[in-house]
């Protein structure tokens, strides 16, 4: 990463971007409306939830994202505008229309995201008023306010900025996100926004974004549920004035690495901040026959309630890990699998060739006391790997999700 300057936790808006986050009154007291604006129409790529039950703004954005261009994104928290019928679609359109009016841009170039309670109509008067205030508040420093305004039960802000140089031009890429735990009050959402002043060809941007999303946000799991509102969007406005990046070049590799780093960092932070989580779990499946086998196994492990509770209990319960690989759908030979547990305290092999391995229980205990736990599964079947991220399953998960409305 020597070609990149990494600013973890920081938001530095790239050239031509301004943002804001304000209190519109959808939530009781916290900031709940964010606005992102680019001076110049930006190339964009976006991915959305694959849930058939899609929130109104997702339905709207899926259509608008097809042209690969956008200039502004408006996001509200506190209400997901999901399961709201025809009225919901109208409300999402009205939000975009209002943004277009106050920013004097095309309505079609505005994307809309929502997160929060489902099945309840948006308080549109407040929302539209909020958009006016947000537009007046736009600033170069407004990224933090925007990042705060999209939060729901997140316990910390998730952001990162990377800077690199392409053909003498300074490029900035900043990303911020909110958590994926299906959260207060009915459920919530993963929202992620990546902004860059790099000039990138539309098709190239699309390919790079979708590939990295597949290896980052699509490899995290808090509880296996999938929201109606999940959305990740990248905007590249080209104001760094570099020659448009194309695939197959050194510049592309650099851009791709930066994008992957931003998405991976945000994905990890989301996993770490899973509801009730006390530990971050990173699963590395290595030496798999195909990348798909590695992905299936890595996702099954990080999704397993039994693995998650074992990690919460700091129990080196390798049988649960092996069993999860077993039902993952991955093609592998049980008799070859080795499993390791790792953390800052060390590494311990807990299973060899699919069978019990006489490991040091006290070392395993020490390893599992840490806050970041790595599970390494060596399939010894090929040369592909995959990484997934998740969190443990704690009493607080049950508490947060069991007692909201009571």
């Amino acid at each position: 990463m020597e070609q990149m300057e990494i600013l973890d936790g920081k938001i530095e808006l790239p050239k031509g971007f301004v943002a804001s986050g304000v209190f519109a009154g959808i939530k009781r007291s916290k900031k709940d409306l964010a606005l992102i604006y680019s001076e110049r129409l930006a190339n964009i790529s976006a991915v959305f939830t694959t849930n058939r039950v899609k929130a109104a703004p997702v339905i709207l954005d899926m259509e608008r994202a097809k042209k690969g261009k956008a200039q502004a994104i408006v996001i509200n928290s506190g209400n997901a505008n999901a399961c709201t019928g025809e009225k919901g679609i109208e409300d999402a359109k009205s939000m975009a229309k209002k943004v277009a009016e106050v920013l004097e841009i095309e309505e079609e170039d505005v994307l809309v995201c929502s997160t929060g309670v489902i099945g309840v109509p948006l308080p549109m008067e407040k929302v539209l008023k909020g958009i006016e205030v947000a537009a007046l508040s736009l600033s170069k420093e407004g990224g933090y306010d925007a990042a705060h305004a999209i939060m729901t039960t997140d316990t910390f802000l998730k952001a990162v900025t990377v800077k690199f140089n392409v053909e003498g031009k300074d490029i900035t890429m900043t990303g911020f996100a909110k958590g994926s735990g299906m959260i207060h009050p009915n459920m919530a959402t993963m929202l992620s926004f990546v902004l860059t002043d790099a000039s990138v060809e539309k098709a190239t941007l699309d390919k790079a974004f979708k590939n990295t999303v597949n290896r980052t946000y699509n490899m995290i799991s808090v509880d296996g549920d999938m929201s109606t509102n999940d959305t990740a969007i990248v905007m590249a406005n080209g104001m760094a004035e570099n020659k448009a990046i194309q695939e197959g070049t050194y510049e592309f590799d650099l851009f791709y690495k930066a994008l992957e780093y931003v998405n991976k960092t945000l994905a990890r932070l989301i996993a770490k901040d899973g509801e009730g989580a006390t530990k971050l779990i990173e699963v590395n499946v290595i030496n798999a026959k195909t990348e798909n086998d590695a992905r299936l196994a890595a996702k099954a492990i990080v999704n397993s309630n039994l693995v998650k509770t074992a990690i919460f209990g700091e129990d080196a319960n390798w049988g649960r890990i092996l069993a999860a690989v077993g039902y993952s759908g991955a093609d592998f030979d049980v008799d070859k699998v080795d499993i390791y547990l790792k953390s800052a305290k060390g590494e311990v092999k807990v299973c060899e060739n699919g069978s019990f391995f006489a490991f040091d229980e006290s070392l395993a205990k020490e390893v599992l006391k840490e806050k970041e736990i790595f599970i390494i599964v060596d399939m010894k079947a090929g040369e592909f790997m995959a990484t997934s991220w998740g969190c443990d399953l704690s009493y607080d998960y049950v508490k947060i999700n069991g007692s909201y409305r009571t």
Copy 2:
């Protein structure tokens, strides 16, 4: 069901069957070895875990079940004989060999099941001694002992007997099972045994058993994990001396109903006794386009941690139910879906046409206070339905699964 006498919770061994359950010393103090024996070689059908990581006895039984005949089943609890390598296979074979010796039957006609800790070799001296004692203890009344000896963290015995008449012959069918929670210490297993003195053609028995298993055991979920040892076996020894039952007859319908009732009863009891469960959840997806759509939706709902925690918290959180249907893979139209919550206290519609429905919150609260909760999802898309069973997700689930070895 007027043609059937139902004895819930009872085990009455059919003609020609004897059983026993003894303490072999695999567990610390409880019964841990069961034996089932039929005087006459019985037609059998069996289904096994689809986990690629299969316990040694499962690997053995899958081969032996192919011929569709068996005369005895030996089951031990306290040790799953899984992830035990070549030695595990040898041990499973030795168990069968010992049973064959003491009962003077063919080794090939003995099936073996294990449940308990994985990755630890069986204490074979104790197991073989236990088999000798179990053989000496076989009796007509031994079903209860057998049912107790297969239990692990089950909190109650799961058994049912039904009696019916075929062409003047009295038929008895009895079933007992142990829980499916992936349990103490590493994980455990669903084991189910159905015994009948009916005479049933082999292919007919196979078809009836697999069909009913698909609609019963395969529709329950405690935590979405799948064990290395799951096994369900039916034995029909023909000693009721009825004319062998064939498909497409009135007798078959009766037999099928009885078998389905037994499997459904045991499946429900397993769901009800899920680890840490405080409520049984039954999901009915109705008016689906295809049976598969109904099954996918029903399973996704009962598997959702968010639905499970909401039911634990007695929260009428219909958005989570709809979202689970959304990612289930089922083909449906969101704008048509109605959702109802039901219990002994009444029924309340909580979602209409995929949107919020102004329901009576206090009635919903009352409904959810009960111990058996029904979730009804009306897709209004066709005429197929499916039912699934599960349980809520409580603090105790986390406790049981998080703190075993600590």
